[in-house]
């Protein structure tokens, strides 16, 4: 079976093969088995991962225990805040769901790859990932707002349940799952 590579990834398909290979040559490859921790919430963020194969889960610790708030699919970058120079810690834990292979993208790789197509590809993937994050968070804000307005317009109170959201803050918390 051929080793996982960037070749089959839709998000990188527009990039000529030799340039995709250039990215693979400069980036360290890393493998994870199912259940293995990729990043742990609260740890310093020092690299991002471009997933080549497999699937990962993004989980956060809440008062009620561990909660899955998203999946990472091949072609996606995860942990990109490490590259933004914000000095932030991991805001979530990432676990391999399936046997997974990724490329480590860190600031030293970007520096070494200056002037190459590999750097441009990595930067572009980061831009797309950040754009998705911003749109998703704003989508959650909009949805929380709509739910709140709909609830306020209802003449009867919502059913009482321990987990039922009661205000804008609760609704947004539920939609974001604590992931910021």
């Amino acid at each position: 079976m051929p080793a996982p590579s960037t070749q089959g990834l839709r998000s990188l398909r527009e990039i000529p093969q030799e340039e995709r290979e250039a990215l693979e040559r400069v980036a360290q490859r890393i493998e994870y088995h199912p259940g293995q921790t990729v990043f742990r919430e609260g740890e310093p963020a020092d690299f991002a991962l471009l997933l080549l194969e497999g699937r990962m889960s993004v989980v956060v610790e809440t008062a009620r225990g561990r909660r899955v708030v998203g999946d990472v699919w091949p072609g996606e970058v995860v942990g990109e805040t490490a590259l933004l120079g914000l000095g932030e810690k991991r805001n979530a834990t990432v676990l391999a769901q399936l046997p997974s292979v990724g490329l480590i993208v860190d600031s030293s790789l970007l520096e070494r790859a200056r002037g190459t197509r590999a750097r441009a590809v990595a930067q572009k993937q980061l831009l797309l990932t950040m754009s998705r994050r911003i749109r998703a968070t704003n989508g959650a804000i909009r949805k929380a707002w709509q739910e709140q307005r709909a609830a306020e317009a209802q003449p009867t109170p919502e059913p009482e349940a321990p987990e039922a959201p009661v205000g804008l803050r609760d609704r947004l918390n539920r939609l974001l799952g604590g992931l910021l």
Partner: protein, 178 residues
């Protein structure tokens, strides 16, 4: 230092990028279409296809957005020099807001063709554009998430009727309007 380089210097400083890259960004600004906007001129309209990246060189731009009631309301005023309209250029989403020249304004407008060419260009021109957008979006995420964390913090009491305004602020910050 010519005017484009001086403006580029300020834009780079604003996004915490090395101001010595100003000549590179200044050259990009000069490749753009130079536009003088009249007071009240609509530069882009919410919901329209995204075709241009804007650099506001001089003047002010009012940002308006429809709220959930469908009411068009001002959410921010952009002051020169700054860049706006980059998110839709990256993900090809429609415009998220309407931008109107507030008084006379001068802009450098980068069309889709040049933008796409630079986005894939491994050379210094493409690199500075990608770094500028990465820096801008990092700031959007950092400031927007910080505002949301405060909003979501149960130990910070705030009246519920003030919540919508605080969320609007966080949302505008994430979009890069504040």
């Amino acid at each position: 230092m010519n005017e484009s380089t001086a403006i580029a210097h300020l834009i780079l400083e604003r996004h915490a990028l090395h101001p010595e890259l100003d000549a590179l960004l200044g050259a990009l600004l000069e490749q753009c279409f130079q536009h003088r906007a009249e007071p009240g001129e609509v530069l882009c309209r919410e919901g329209d296809a995204t075709r241009d990246l804007f650099f506001l060189l001089d003047g002010e731009v009012e940002v308006r957005m429809r709220d959930l009631c469908g009411e068009d309301r001002p959410i921010a005023t952009l002051l020169a020099p700054t860049m706006f309209g980059h998110m839709g250029m990256i993900d090809a989403a429609p415009r998220s807001a309407t931008c109107v020249a507030h008084g006379q304004a001068r802009l450098a407008v980068m069309g889709r063709e040049l933008f796409d060419e630079l986005l894939d260009d491994p050379g210094p021109g493409g690199d500075i554009l990608r770094r500028l957008m990465l820096a801008a979006m990092s700031q959007q995420l950092a400031k927007g998430n910080a505002a949301l964390r405060i909003f979501l913090d149960p130990s910070i009491e705030a009246p519920e009727n003030f919540a919508a305004e605080r969320l609007r602020h966080a949302s505008g910050t994430l979009e890069g309007w504040r």
